[in-house]
Symmetry: C2
């Protein structure tokens, strides 16, 4: 089993987490939380989404958030950018990295973006190209790589073909998404084996959801293949807000604890991250799925 | 990454789960639940403990439970047996396998058993020897292998030395316990590397708690070393009842889902196991940590 010396963590809680929470945070609370995250040692925070507020009302204050957070030197502040209109707002918000997104499966892409895959790709190309001109780095999220809620299995050839098109756009990173939280370690290695023949491992990140408890196991399988970049959300925020206990993103706190125990550097202070997790749990108004958060609470670590 | 074709699961929920739950189940409820578990395809169920009721009041009805469950042919019904007195009751209860137990760390052994390690070993030898004479198979639990709440790290030499003594007693299986739920995949492989040089992998089981979310990741690391026997508790029952959200045993349901996705045979019907998990969750009166249980509930799988 291959274990890296260090990994990079991309904290997506303020975007992928908050966009799915039932509780609506005030702009000021979002800013406070992102500022807390900035002080944990995280080097990357996806702070919001510039998708039209009609689609993600929870993040309609994207520009206000982007303009008001305290920028810690060395931290990359990213945001989701759906199109050129969104990019204009992201640039106004002085975002460091633009994240574009699409699905590997046709049906999910249509349901999520209201466009076919072939209609989506030129839009992403325009955004990444404009973003690069404005000196932003770019990241592409590819959803439903490990399973689609409508089409089930997504053919590997399709994942490869779309990934090739995305890398042709000169994106800096491709984040492979386990949207429904059903990826398993064997599948992770099969998909990575195919992709790593074609693309550099330094440019591939994995984005797991812990819906069925396999997020950390999948990360171990990915590390074994040489992957060193993982998305996570503080506290395991996200997932379906109407489903108590149903997990959202892989909890950054659980990943950091595991890495610390395994001797893998993350640069993140677990104690500070857990304080940020506890803070957002109170705002979310529900028990978050992070095991380390719940264990820390039960051990009275916060008193 | 090595992946086995099939694994054996030892369901310990009725013992290791229930002994730690705050809610007290009636004897009749325990019997009903064990009977449900017997119908899931599980081939091994640890149904109770013959430890003196003074120490584990929740399982004071051990004999009644053992005498009243329906025995499904092919299923091994095991119980915890602390000493010869306990063995007499276990034999009266027609138990198939006697599980003895001790800790790898001196302090935890004293706190848990009220004896030193060297005082404990002859007692275990007497029980396993008498059990074998009565045609019972035997299993030994070694706790705190991956960390002790009092002594922290437990020296590998000590784990090896105690394991040797236990195997000298001709136990059929040694279950290595991550009592505090802090084992990590690297540590699992280090410990196993040392033990597998000395003992057959078929006789070693791993017993994880999911306190920090690493149970499945640890199992992946153990499978990679050739281990194919794992303990689990239906629903992730167990852990500290006064700590909401703090996880107990690795959830059998999560292990079975992962194995099914990875193409590893378990012989267990996930649907039936989830029904048993939902049933015991209602009796426990708290949200259980199994991710698959919570996801199944949120997807309305039970309606």
């Amino acid at each position: 089993m291959k274990v890296p010396k260090k990994i990079s963590i991309k904290e997506v809680g303020p975007r992928d987490g908050l966009q799915n929470e039932k509780a609506r945070l005030s702009t000021s609370d979002k800013i406070t939380w992102i500022n807390m995250l900035s002080m944990t040692g995280l080097s990357y925070i996806e702070i919001t989404s510039f998708v039209h507020p009609k689609w993600i009302p929870a993040l309609s204050d994207a520009l206000a958030v982007a303009k008001s957070i305290e920028r810690k030197p060395g931290v990359t502040y990213a945001a989701l950018v759906p199109n050129q209109k969104g990019l204009e707002r992201a640039l106004e918000g002085r975002i460091d990295e633009a994240s574009v997104f699409m699905s590997a499966s046709e049906t999910h892409n249509r349901k999520n973006i209201n466009k076919s895959i072939s209609e989506t790709l030129p839009i992403l190309k325009a955004v990444t190209s404009e973003a690069a001109k404005a000196n932003l780095t770019t990241r592409a999220y590819l959803s439903t790589v490990f399973g689609c809620p409508y089409e089930n299995d997504v053919p590997l050839e399709q994942i490869i073909r779309i990934s090739e098109t995305l890398f042709d756009m000169e994106i800096d990173e491709l984040s492979l998404g386990d949207t429904i939280g059903a990826a398993n370690p064997v599948q992770v290695q099969i998909v990575l084996e195919a992709l790593l023949k074609r693309f550099p491992k330094e440019k591939i990140a994995l984005h797991f959801h812990d819906t069925r408890g396999m997020a950390l196991a999948n990360m171990i399988a990915a590390m074994d293949m040489g992957i060193t970049t993982f998305d996570g959300a503080c506290g395991g925020l996200g997932g379906c807000p109407y489903a108590p206990g149903s997990s959202g993103n892989a909890a950054t706190d659980d990943l950091i604890y595991m890495c610390a125990q395994m001797g893998i550097e993350t640069g993140v202070d677990l104690g500070k991250l857990l304080l940020a997790a506890k803070w957002i749990e109170e705002k979310a108004g529900r028990q978050l799925p992070s095991r380390n958060l719940q264990t820390a609470k039960s051990l009275d670590c916060f008193s």
